[in-house]
């Protein structure tokens, strides 16, 4: 009716298919995509007693901490002086994703940013509380900025010149995947042409660690003498998750905008879903996880037998792991290959969902699946586990799952671009 001569690019720009066109990742086993994938495939680990200031206070919690971050020169020293670990990790992963997706060539007014995570800089705050207790007058003014999670939005948008929109989203341990889902929604709705999701490094202090231990969610000291054995998702001898510092970033857009910059997508974001249990507590529900999986598959127009690989939430939780396996099996996904990224990285909490999307994308691209550490007696031995060694496998369609306290269940389907 209007003729299509006026905006020839509109049909492809309005194409509903969304793709991931760049990613960045940090974990204790590897910083950057290449090191991260190599560490995953080798089944590396970096668990030990955590030693970062603000994380011990007489405790000796096991976890995996990042080695020193090598910040690119684009970030000035003046800035970094007041940026904590979560902020630095966000800048670094965003930098990696930004370069890969060549976003310097994109319109900054059409780029959005979603940061997944809530209360992400608790360790930095605990340190400030200790230092300035009784000397409140000398609290650094930047505390007034950094206590807010949205500080990461300001920090990243300033440093990368993002001028579209930015906000945070929270979904407990599903936050990272909720951020990817929100980024997809923003591109699909047309509010942004390109949206970056960052799963923020959750910088826990001894307060949060103790709370998670008291709650029964975090693993015990049973493996204090052998930290490499402590993190054991889906194994009979698991007794809770083991924390691991991590951060991830992914770029979501349509194929047409990526093509304008000559960028090839990793994979299609074929479908996603979020389903609630209506439950404030940490206990999971197979019914809720099942609904998330089924809705994601339906929206991706896929059936369970088409899924080649499942990247589960799999934390090593006493209750969470068997419930998740029941949901996966109940959905008919028992043929799909399955491993547990957290057995290698530890649980990044808010970061986990994004980091595991990156892990899935990298495995799809390499046609390799990483092993699962410490899976000596699998809860469900009949599942198609990748156990001791990495395997070669073509992955046409993958499903990655996240679960968060407060009854949050999410599922995301990723499809190879050829399919």
């Amino acid at each position: 009716m209007w003729g299509n001569w006026s905006m020839p690019s509109m049909p492809s720009r309005m194409d509903s298919d969304l793709f991931v066109t760049g990613c960045g990742v940090l974990s204790a086993v590897g910083q950057g995509k290449d090191a991260f994938l190599a560490a995953l495939l080798a089944g590396d680990q970096a668990f030990g007693v955590m030693e970062r200031p603000g994380r011990n206070n007489g405790t000796a919690f096991l976890g995996a901490e990042l080695s020193a971050l090598d910040m690119p020169e684009r970030f000035p020293g003046k800035l970094l002086r007041t940026v904590g670990l979560s902020g630095r990790a966000a800048l670094l992963t965003l930098h990696e994703a930004w370069e890969e997706a060549r976003l310097l060539d994109a319109d900054p007014l059409r780029i959005g940013l979603v940061v997944g995570g809530s209360n992400i800089q608790q360790r930095e705050l605990a340190l400030k509380h200790e230092t300035y207790q009784g000397r409140l007058d000398y609290l650094p003014p930047t505390y007034g900025l950094s206590f807010m999670d949205s500080d990461l939005c300001g920090l990243c948008s300033e440093q990368f010149g993002i001028r579209g929109l930015a906000h945070t989203v929270g979904g407990a341990s599903a936050s990272g995947q909720v951020a990817v889902i929100e980024a997809a929604r923003l591109v699909r709705s047309g509010e942004a042409d390109i949206c970056i999701a960052v799963g923020a490094l959750t910088d826990l202090s001894y307060w949060e660690l103790q709370g998670l231990r008291s709650l029964g969610a975090m693993g015990s000291d049973r493996f204090a003498g052998e930290p490499a054995l402590a993190c054991r998702p889906f194994d009979e001898r698991r007794d809770g998750f083991i924390f691991g510092e991590a951060c991830g970033a992914v770029v979501v857009e349509r194929r047409a905008t990526a093509a304008e910059r000559g960028v090839e997508p990793y994979a299609k974001l074929a479908g996603w879903a979020m389903a609630l249990d209506g439950n404030r507590n940490p206990d999971p529900s197979a019914a809720g996880e099942t609904r998330a999986i089924e809705q994601a598959l339906t929206r991706a127009r896929l059936t369970a037998p088409q899924i080649d690989y499942v990247n589960p939430h799999g934390t090593g939780s006493g209750v969470g792991d068997p419930v998740e396996l029941a949901a996966i099996r109940g959905c008919g996904l028992d043929r799909a290959a399955i491993n547990a990224t957290k057995s290698i990285t530890g649980h990044g909490l808010a970061a986990a969902g994004t980091v595991e999307v990156v892990a899935t994308l990298l495995q799809m691209k390499a046609s390799r699946l990483h092993p699962t550490r410490n899976l000596e007696q699998p809860l469900d031995p009949e599942m198609n586990w990748v156990r001791d060694k990495a395997v070669t496998q073509e992955i046409g369609h993958a499903l990655t799952l996240s679960v968060g306290f407060g009854g949050v269940n999410t599922a995301l389907c990723l499809s190879a671009t050829e399919s």
Binding site: P76, G77, K78, R81, P140, L145
Partner: protein, 85 residues
């Protein structure tokens, strides 16, 4: 001794400026220099003042320094406060 104390506070402020603004480190700071011209934004200026206050154990309301125009005036104000004026 008074001039010496004033010079000490100036040196302290200069070091605080170097800490908050690493790009100007090593450059001679003059009393007439404005923090803004040295590259400080409003948060940087607040950080520099706070570091000086902490080192001198002073308690100064932000508003009391609102009329300060340059590094020399900041040092004068800190000096005056540290001598109970």
């Amino acid at each position: 001794m008074t001039a010496q104390r004033h010079a000490e506070i100036f040196a302290l402020v200069q070091n605080n400026i170097y800490e908050v603004l690493p790009d100007v480190e090593g450059r001679e700071i003059k009393p007439g220099d404005r923090l803004t011209d040295l590259g400080a934004n409003s948060v940087d200026r607040a950080e520099i003042v706070m570091l000086a206050m902490e080192a001198l154990s002073l308690h100064i309301q932000r508003v009391e320094l609102s009329g300060v125009k340059n590094v020399g005036e900041l040092v004068d104000a800190l000096y005056a406060k540290s001598h109970g004026q």
